[in-house]
């Protein structure tokens, strides 16, 4: 029995090492092929179909599903293959690094990615950019080897949130902010932009900054603790989807829904429902569909050898219950129709 188990383990080991060696040689020859290959043929022309890897920061949230929908739409239009994979959680920098390396190894033609960490991903992106063009969407990287950054001007979006909160509170009151993870680019920019926006409204007093860890449970806890230590908070800015949902849930359970004015980034079905209920008062809606769409479009443009702008702002829209049913807003919220 024991001998059998050992023999089986040995066989498994041999098979596994064989696989590794095989894939190594394969990607090695691929690299040579890539080096020798002239500029990829224009899509639609004869030859291999272009493969573009789109790597989000996380897989869980509707935001990333919408990015994916946009990327796939562009993929269909351009006749390129869009491959999608990312870390399970937005805090898993190491997972994202491995995913990028695997895609480069497997010979994709371009990488479109949202960085989980502005600085931590720099070496990986610089290495990848030596072999394929890299385009960042939503969350950039601190290096100039990327072809372009396509995303929301997060500072401007958060300033708009401050402005909206000022309007809802009639110009005075204590406010709190729930960013997600310190040093994550998007989180920092929104926190900073919100504070910059508040500076214009002396009646609003920022009394608490509590991080959610980009999890709904974290958003609930942040809100509960924030309102325990600062019972007079009249308005909250939740900087992303999990923070917003968590904050809305906590406010509902506390019976403070509607009283505390809640302005939140993003617009998942959960958030839209909370907006309709009146727990959330305004949504700062980005255009994740456009990020995915433009990401793939611009990648194809680069592969054709054309130059593209260094920064593309995809803009935000302040959505309230009043304009929720406008056609333009509906198209932004449901880019593919209702699922």
């Amino acid at each position: 029995m024991n001998t059998f188990a050992r023999a089986a383990a040995l066989v498994l080991l041999l098979v596994a090492s064989g696989c590794v060696r095989e894939s190594e040689t394969e990607s090695g020859s691929d690299a040579i092929r890539m080096g020798a290959r002239p500029r990829p043929a224009a899509p639609g022309a004869a030859g291999k179909q272009l493969r573009i890897a789109v790597i989000p920061k996380g897989l869980g949230h509707d935001f990333w599903n919408t990015v994916r929908a946009g990327a796939e739409k562009a993929g269909q239009e351009e006749g390129v293959r869009v491959e999608w994979n990312g870390p399970e959680k937005e805090t898993q920098h190491d997972r994202q690094i491995a995913i990028i390396e695997n895609y480069v190894q497997s010979g994709v033609d371009a990488i479109v990615m949202a960085a989980t960490d502005r600085k931590g991903l720099v070496p990986t992106v610089e290495k990848a950019a030596k072999r394929v063009p890299v385009i960042t969407i939503d969350s950039g990287v601190n290096t100039d080897v990327v072809k372009t950054f396509i995303g929301t001007d997060n500072e401007k979006g958060a300033e708009a949130a401050a402005e909206e909160l000022n309007r809802l509170l009639g110009g005075k009151g204590e406010v709190g902010v729930i960013p997600f993870i310190p040093n994550a680019a998007t989180s920092d920019q929104r926190e900073h932009g919100f504070k910059k926006g508040l500076a214009r409204f002396p009646g609003l007093n920022l009394v608490a900054t509590v991080y959610s860890g980009s999890e709904v449970a974290g958003g609930i806890k942040a809100t509960e603790n924030m309102l325990t230590s600062h019972p007079n908070i009249a308005g909250i800015f939740a900087a992303n989807e999990p923070a917003a949902i968590g904050c809305a849930r906590a406010l509902e359970t506390m019976g403070k829904a509607g009283q505390v004015k809640l302005v939140a980034f993003d617009a998942s079905p959960n958030q839209i429902q909370a907006l309709q209920k009146g727990t959330i008062h305004a949504l700062i809606v980005q255009n994740p569909f456009k990020m995915g769409y433009e990401g793939v479009k611009q990648a194809v443009t680069v592969l054709r050898g054309e130059t593209i702008p260094r920064v593309i702002d995809t803009g935000v829209k302040v959505v309230t219950r009043e304009n929720l049913n406008d056609l333009e807003v509906q198209q932004l919220l449901y880019p593919l129709g209702r699922r």
């Binding site: 869980g60 900054t209 860890g213 806890k221 603790n225 325990t228 849930r249 079905p269 209702r338």
Partner: protein
């Protein structure tokens, strides 16, 4: 021959009591002091959220206590939280399921979540008790398997509120809404956790099963020789751990109104931490459910609350929670050596 006064054993008894409950009393006192130092701590609302925030960890820790007392460990509970939550939410938001079960949909879905946990617990228990596999390895494997399954069955993303445009959406979302009180708000989560605490205290302290658990943890060979049904006792311990993790999974899903494949990450370590700071020995045989209650509520729960109310930055919070585990266990060890 006259014995030197009964005061001697009495004093010894007092000393033992001091050592056994001194740490507990000390931490309850410390929690009180931390509370005084923290503004808004002694407000009813704060205790309500404390009760809600410690509930799932307490439930997981109690199951973990029984497993650890037998000399085992269960690393799979965090992943069970994800798998059970995902299963329950899938059932709640599935039109076919809702049609089939009618008004019993919500209890049926909660039952499915708990059952999923119990099933994994059963697999753990069978592997440890009957196949003789090391608990660490078995539950490490089931931890990965459950996490993977949770991701696979919902395609890697989380699942929650049904889009209002879809058929039956209103009813399905009402179903989902119905489990929210299990995890969010006061008092249901805390009452559930309290109920599990009392049951576990009684199970370990007042039943033959409880005595068997301690016997196995003390010395498995001795327990077997004295006729303790070692396999059955171990099997039941993992089954209970899995079942409670299933319950915790449904509560977590209720709290966030969604099933997420990344839910419960690291919960197994939080539970082990609560058990250990509550004075239970990782070698098994020594410890109690009361200790775990103190560990989960007064040490870990209050600590998180205090750090949260003082708004300590998240990274320092991790450092602080690690340091507190370290210091608590060191203190416990030191007092026990003095007492022995």
């Amino acid at each position: 021959m006259a014995t030197p006064a009964p005061a001697q054993p009495e004093r010894r008894l007092l000393w033992h009591l001091a050592c056994d409950y001194g740490v507990v009393a000390g931490f309850v006192g410390l929690a009180f002091l931390l509370g005084i130092w923290t503004p808004h701590f002694f407000e009813p609302y704060n205790f309500q959220t404390l009760g809600e925030q410690v509930a799932t960890n307490l439930i997981l820790s109690l199951g973990m206590t029984v497993v650890i007392l037998t000399g085992g460990i269960d690393l799979s509970v965090g992943s069970i939280v994800a798998l059970s939550g995902v299963s329950a939410v899938m059932a709640l938001t599935h039109p076919g399921f809702a049609t089939a079960f009618g008004s019993a949909t919500v209890p049926a879905a909660v039952g499915i979540g708990v059952l999923v946990g119990a099933t994994v617990g059963l697999v753990n228990g069978l592997s440890v008790a009957h196949l003789g596999m090391p608990p660490f390895i078995v539950t490490l494997a089931t931890m990965r398997i459950c996490r993977g399954l949770a991701k696979q069955i919902i395609g890697g993303t989380s699942i929650g509120v049904v889009d209002p445009g879809l058929p039956m959406a209103e009813q399905l979302n009402a179903n989902l809404q119905a489990i929210q009180p299990l995890g969010l708000g006061f008092p249901t989560p805390f009452l559930l956790a309290l109920g599990v605490t009392v049951s576990t205290v009684l199970l370990l302290g007042r039943t033959r099963y409880g005595r068997h658990v301690y016997a196995i943890g003390g010395s498995e060979a001795a327990a077997r020789l004295s006729g303790v049904p070692v396999r059955r006792v171990k099997l039941m311990a993992y089954l209970l751990g899995g079942l409670l993790a299933g319950l915790a999974g449904v509560m977590e899903a209720g709290k966030v109104q969604s099933g997420s494949p990344t839910a419960g990450e690291g919960f197994e370590l939080n539970a082990i931490a609560a058990v250990v700071v509550g004075g239970t020995s990782l070698a098994g045989g020594r410890g109690s459910a009361v200790g775990t209650f103190v560990g989960a509520v007064f040490i870990i729960g209050v600590m998180n609350k205090v750090l949260g109310l003082h708004n300590v930055p998240p990274f320092y919070r991790e450092v602080a929670s690690g340091a507190i585990i370290f210091v608590t266990v060191l203190l416990d060890l030191w007092l026990r050596r003095k007492g022995a």
